[in-house]
């Protein structure tokens, strides 16, 4: 109904930093097949943007494009780094790209095994990310790792265990700790609660909500779970067949959906 809303350029509010991510006309084709088409939006500091839609709607394609995991067929993604320099994500030198990936961005995968090193201890998983950012002092790395295990509610005496000895929920919390330990500014999340039992999901959601608010993180969150989107995201983009069909304030999109597809999605939620 209002896909133009997403591309509307809004100026920074008074006293606010400029946009962190500026996406314009982003399209991707897998050969002939459409991944996503003509996506434009800005992401602001401290903002959590939810991308919702069914399987195959193009939301994971969009997330991977944003995170620079593969180049788009057309369109641009501009990122403003910690020093205030703006980069075109798809024409970065390898050195700058690696620096941003290591120190300024995080990526939380749906399956912890895609984001963790399963043969390395929990402490090692967290420490590795710190070492990639330049930490060398073993004692500091270990105490930071312990601190982060506590923040994601993993007992200190599990620090030397491998993730294979952890439950699914603990693995996911460890993956989150590994991503956040380096103090990233922007975190991409792909169905972070997707593979978990409902009771474990609630715990993780609450934890994510607290961490994101407390750290003032900017997040792009892909989820098919509208309850997760409502709880975590300030703003939503609804995708269908690779295109944005509706966008806006999260509770407005969910409580007063305008596009037929969004209405169908919302009316399909089971009442608990």
């Amino acid at each position: 109904m209002m896909p133009d809303e997403i591309s509307r350029r809004t100026e920074a509010l008074p006293g606010e930093e400029p946009a962190l991510l500026q996406v314009e006309g982003l399209s991707h084709y897998y050969g002939e097949r459409l991944g996503c088409r003509d996506i434009s939006f800005d992401l602001w500091p401290g903002e959590v943007l939810g991308i919702v839609g069914e399987s195959g709607s193009g939301k994971s394609t969009l997330l991977n494009l944003l995170a620079g995991r593969f180049p788009p067929s057309s369109g641009t993604i501009r990122y403003r780094d910690a020093e205030g320099l703006t980069h075109d994500i798809n024409s970065l030198s390898e050195a700058v790209r690696r620096r941003i990936l290591r120190t300024e961005w995080g990526f939380v995968h749906q399956h912890p095994r895609d984001g963790l090193r399963m043969r390395v201890s929990a402490g090692g998983n967290i420490g590795e990310r710190l070492m990639a950012c330049g930490s060398r002092h073993y004692g500091n790395i270990r105490s930071t790792a312990l601190d982060w295990l506590e923040r994601v509610e993993i007992a200190a005496d599990r620090i030397d265990d491998r993730p294979t000895a952890y439950s699914g929920g603990m693995q996911q919390r460890l993956q989150i700790a590994r991503n956040l330990v380096s103090g990233p500014r922007l975190v991409f999340m792909d169905e972070p609660t997707g593979g978990l039992d409902v009771s474990v999901q609630a715990k993780l959601l609450d934890l994510l909500r607290q961490l994101v608010r407390g750290l003032g993180l900017s997040v792009v969150l892909v989820t098919h779970d509208l309850a997760v989107a409502r709880l975590l995201a300030h703003r939503l983009i609804v995708m269908r067949r690779g295109e944005v069909v509706e966008s806006g304030l999260s509770d407005q999109v969910l409580d007063d959906p305008h596009h037929p597809y969004t209405q169908l999605l919302v009316s399909s939620i089971l009442q608990g």
Partner: protein, 233 residues
Amino acid sequence: MDTTVNEPVLSVRGLSKSFTLHTQGGTVIEAFADLDIAVRPGECLALHGPSGAGKSTLLRALYANYKPCSGSIIVKHGNSQVDMATASPRAVLSVRHSTMGYVSQFLRVIPRVSCLDIVAERLSLHGEKDDAAREKAGELLARLRIPKGLWNLAPATFSGGEQQRVNIARGFIRHYPILLLDEPTASLDAANRETVVALIREARSAGSAVIGIFHDEAVRDAVADRVFTLRPH
């Protein structure tokens, strides 16, 4: 003397809202049309009308939870003015953060968060220290007769009346220049109803403009100085 004191903090012009139900054959439901409302600091406006007249829908539209079809909702937000009908999501969130409070009929429960923290969060988001925020939250919960034994529990298992009082505490824990109340006393006993009446009066004395739906006539008479009548379509 401050000459802006009597300026409306909320001005509604030509506001209309209808819903088009695409999943039900495109049925159009008109909630209300062409409303004009102005509310000044310290005033309390009661929305009146039969069930289905659009009272709750109007409150939700003012809070930008529903998107109006036409018209404007101009809110005095700090030194600026924001039209809630067309504002960007970030501007709406900024208004909700500091200018406009809303007590809905039902508490939307956040898993695992204690009722004390649900209330205290409204203060800590404005920079209050956690301990001080919790202490003030506890005082208000006590005033609303929520037993101390429940403070550290998540409200998912609370009774309807207890959840409603947690919701009220969250709405009244800090000063909002505009306060929207949707049946705040609906499931409360007489003693708690009196407490809510007192809270609304205190908010008005502190300068809040209140717009509310009060099913209970005695409560309405006790808190409101004007009535706005909506007619069903």
